[in-house]
Structure formats: C-alpha cells, structure tokens
Symmetry: C2
C-alpha cells in the first residue's frame, strides 16, 4: 500500500558531476560555488543546469536547501536531521551532529502541525576569531 513513487531521472554527465561534487560534501556550498567547482571538470556546464539539478535533487530529497546565509541559498547533501553553526563574519557553515530536546507543547504550537526543525548557532569561526584579535 506504500506508494513508492520511485521517480526516475535521466543520468547525465552534468548531473553526475554535480552529484559527485556533492557526495559527502560538508561545506554547504552555494549554487555558484557548485557551479564553479563542477565547471573545472566539466567546463561546458551551464549555471541554469546547476539550479535545475538542485531543484530536482530537492524534490527527490537528495539535497536540503538551507536559508541560513542571508545572501544566498546553501545546499547540503546530508539530508539527515542535523544542525548548523555559521560564522557571522565569513559565513562558513559547519555541522553540529547532536540531538536537542525540542518538544513544543500543543499550546505553544498555535495550531501548526510541526513537521521539521532546525537549530542555527551563530558565532565566529577560528580563523575569524584570530583575524579580529590581530586587528588593532
């Protein structure tokens, strides 16, 4: 009875290159970063294809879109629940692999049906801490 709509997609060299770049990648790249990286190996790829592919991968739950950076969307091939720590200076994002007790009692949920959660931490990464220190 489970509708396993295994939507199948064509495997193209472009998609393969993007998937390969993303596989195991924990750097939370933007579309542009992905484009530039993939372009090195596959110079004829178009930016639009990167966006299209990311949309497709989102639909397939192969990639998660993060709105944690105020300038651009970031993408994360790790779709398991985990949280993030972002540098307020250089925007480097790292994973926080921890569970937090985040139960919202019904009276606080205001009728919403809660289906997901995400904790963002802000701070200074080691590099930026040093820069600020030696900055007088």
């Amino acid at each position: 009875m489970t509708e396993d709509k295994v939507k199948k997609i064509k495997m193209t060299p472009q998609r393969a290159a993007i998937l390969k770049y993303l596989d195991g990648n924990t750097s939370h790249p933007s579309a542009e970063t992905i484009f530039e990286a993939v372009r090195k190996k596959y110079p004829m790829i178009s930016f639009t294809t990167v966006y299209n592919t990311l949309q497709t991968l989102k639909d397939l739950d192969r990639v998660r879109e993060l709105n944690i950076d105020d300038e651009r969307k970031r993408y994360d091939p790790n779709v398991n629940i985990h949280h993030h720590l972002i540098c307020t200076n250089c925007r480097k994002i790292v994973d926080i692999r921890m569970d937090f007790p985040l139960n919202v009692p019904d009276e606080k949920a205001q009728g919403y049906m809660i289906s997901g959660r995400h904790v963002e931490f802000y701070g200074l990464c080691p590099k930026c801490r040093n820069k600020k220190k030696n900055n007088y």
Copy 2:
C-alpha cells in the same frame, strides 16, 4: 568604564511611522510589507527609506533580521531571544516563546565562539492545513 555609546538618531516622521508600525508587531513583516503598511498613513515615504531605517534599527539592536523565509528577509521588533515556527506553505511566521536546552559541548563547537542561536520549526499553519484537507 562601560562605553555606553548611545548613538542618537534623528527622529523623522518616516522613522516614527516605521517604528509605530513595528512596535509590538508579531507578524514578522518583510521590507515590502512594512513599506506598504506605512505608505497607507504616510504615502510619500520611499522604499529606500524603509531599507535604510531597517538597517539603522538593526545597528541599534532595535530590530532583528530573520533569514527564515527563503524569498525575502523578515524583520522582528522583538529582539529578546525567542524562536519561530514557519508555515511551509504560506510562510506565516509565529513566535515560540520557550527556552530550549541548547548547550553545545566544546568538542562539537569546532573552535567556534558561539554567541547566538535560533530554533526554526517548520509546519503547516491552521489555515493551510484546512486548505489541503478540502483540496481533492
């Protein structure tokens, strides 16, 4: 010894109107929403002034910028720490006034100096739940 740099700003009718609209507002409006709202009372205000004022208020910690909506920035005059619940369908954002135990042990912080945190919950708001229900 405390440097209370009470930066003072000029009080203008535009700023007063924006502040009045924001005061106690829990709707997490976008710049455009603020502009449209303020414009009704003060039709000659410019969009740029709204952006400028929001920037100023951010600098003064009178307003907090939220990156929770993937299409546009949202603004929150409540700068006390609290968390949010966003409707994945209509993007309505409501407050969650709760504390969560969010201690990150040093070995998980990867050298970052953590200075802030924010929990985002995703779900369907009551209206959108009903819409989906009556949607066959």
